[in-house]
Symmetry: C2
Subunit: 422 residues, 2 copies
Amino acid sequence: MESDAVTIMDTLGRQARGAAKAMRMADTKAKNAALILAAAVIRRESREIIAANTLDMKAADENGLDAAMKDRLLLNGDRIEAMAEGLEQIAGLPDPVGAIDNLRFRPSGIQVGHMRVPLGVIGIIYESRPNVTADAAGLCLKSGNAAILRGGSEAIHSNRAVAGCLRRALVDSGLPQNAVQLVDSTDRALVGALLKAEQYVDVIIPRGGKSLIERVAAESRVPVIKHLDGICHVYIDASAKAGMALNIAVNAKTHRYGVCNAMETLLIHQDVKGDVVCAIIQAMLDKGVEVRGCDRTRERCEGLDVKVATDEDWATEYLSPVLSVRIVDDLDAAVDHIAQYSSGHTESIVTESYEAGQRFLREVDSSSVMWNASTRFADGFEYGLGAEIGISTDRLHVRGPVGLEGLTTQKWIVLGTGQVRV
Amino acid sequence: MESDAVTIMDTLGRQARGAAKAMRMADTKAKNAALILAAAVIRRESREIIAANTLDMKAADENGLDAAMKDRLLLNGDRIEAMAEGLEQIAGLPDPVGAIDNLRFRPSGIQVGHMRVPLGVIGIIYESRPNVTADAAGLCLKSGNAAILRGGSEAIHSNRAVAGCLRRALVDSGLPQNAVQLVDSTDRALVGALLKAEQYVDVIIPRGGKSLIERVAAESRVPVIKHLDGICHVYIDASAKAGMALNIAVNAKTHRYGVCNAMETLLIHQDVKGDVVCAIIQAMLDKGVEVRGCDRTRERCEGLDVKVATDEDWATEYLSPVLSVRIVDDLDAAVDHIAQYSSGHTESIVTESYEAGQRFLREVDSSSVMWNASTRFADGFEYGLGAEIGISTDRLHVRGPVGLEGLTTQKWIVLGTGQVRV
């Protein structure tokens, strides 16, 4: 019932607001203690967590979930240990809350600066992977926020067990247990109620497949930090070193296939020599990648098994061993192709030309723009954030990998000695 | 017709996107030249602008607009000169675009940093004041964005004249004239179409009365940077210096009444001496301010004309010579009152206590939190932003006074020498 959902969300929301007030003022020591204790509780209760997960896995069998989904759903000893270690790593990160920036005197005599503060209440909507329960809650906790977690119904028992560990650790550390709340119901109306709980929730972060994220973006009245697509490009410029181009292209495509920062389209300047183009394509084929090329690509590498790329290919996030390849006239054409087809996630140029590299950095408008590096580096750990709650392809507030700082905002602080406006 | 509105917005949106691409890459020199030329064109065409404004003023008379609205609508020589000077000031501000922050090496060998980039297309929806056309367009231009301006229908002739000056200056400076577009129609359906133009517009900034901003917030599918209310508080702590408390309170309330950073409620610690409380209230009365107090306030200052404050008063943005006063038990009660009734704009504590001041800075969650300074300082110029497009009471992206930087975002840049993920 929709009205029930609103009532439930009202309770969760009020509790979250109350907890957020305490979390906002919680000191670093208490937050770190809660994270370290949560890791210990998760290790201690690993048998109970696995038992809960077994219920979800059984239901997954009964409901005919596919192998990939079941793999995401599964918790075992290693994965539980990874959750615990993740929480300990978050405890080790610097606390962003309360940091004061740029405090400077103004001609009026007042000092003006910025203080970093938590966002407040963060709603996380996610699918399948129960480890998100620990990861997301841990990041929200460290950044002084309260979290309302809505996991997939297929993982309800696992999520309940993990969230329970976190809540116990909060209480035992003197922090409000409602800083982590799980929407403990599989009623889909609750997602709608969460998306409309503007008075209680400051931001929604959806994590999951495209259809989930599109639904959240379309329905939400709360601001959303989202990551829609990862159609990432590598552009090999005329002046690229052949070996570097090959290494970066192969790494960007084949290091992992199902990730958002994998290359989906390779753009190549028309002046790149035919044998370099064919060596790259051959390397892809050797790795078992299906290559779909434009006419020019297929002409250049006639002897190789290059399928025909259609317009649809340029707009497709394969997330699998498929690559589209296009030969372009010049840097402008590469930038235009990216502007038209990229999802704004990550693009990389391979070039020895200062001018081409500088232009690419300026002119490509994606959350990460790289020069002579693999797109696979677009990641919170690789960027030094310590951990990430997701990657934003939005423009406002935060772009690219979102770490603790992305879960905070700033307020202005003014220190005076009695100044008034004249 | 709604479908007409969508068609018109589609054209404006496409044109804005095209212009935004050029503006994103425009160099500082060209943008400054356009701003300075726009100021010159506005001065040169001041007679034509006043003639256009006269048409709006006539219509305002015919439509029975009130005196305050007509004052906001009026353009005269001084106001036109102020518009021109405003544009010249924006030309003198540092260009935020392209600035690179925090570029540092990671263990993998890549260098990671942030580059500041324009938001893209900014929709400004505003009322009455035609000077917003020049101010908002100037800030969008300098920050490398394209602007779609939708002014009030009562100012259509004035806005058309001012926008025309800006567009001519853009063309003569080699920049796209569609970087500044006015929605040249009074059809209200166009506001709805603008709010739904997600594919063309990156952010909407409404400027005007509360009903306009509420409508925009409720209807918009585009992210909104908004300023809803300014229910600002001054809290006089037990240890405040009496003279400073009086000066700050009087300045915060009476320096200007109709502004969002004026104090609306004065909170006073119960230990502040009765004669100090009464001196402050007397000073307010002397300035013609109506004072509405809680029971304790009225008891303390029995001889003074203090009206009864109701719960509604605590939640009211007067924007006029009315002040509510409440005596509170302690700092906690002050913080709680603020948490309940403040609009999250600006609050100030007056205290000599280090502990009380530090706690207030941490515990009050408003866009500006002050210590021994008048709330009237919450302003882009006073904070050193040079100019402001508004004040945000939202939490995400930007809080408090919004200057050029608030009209930009950041992307990650990665500089490598061929690194790949291992």
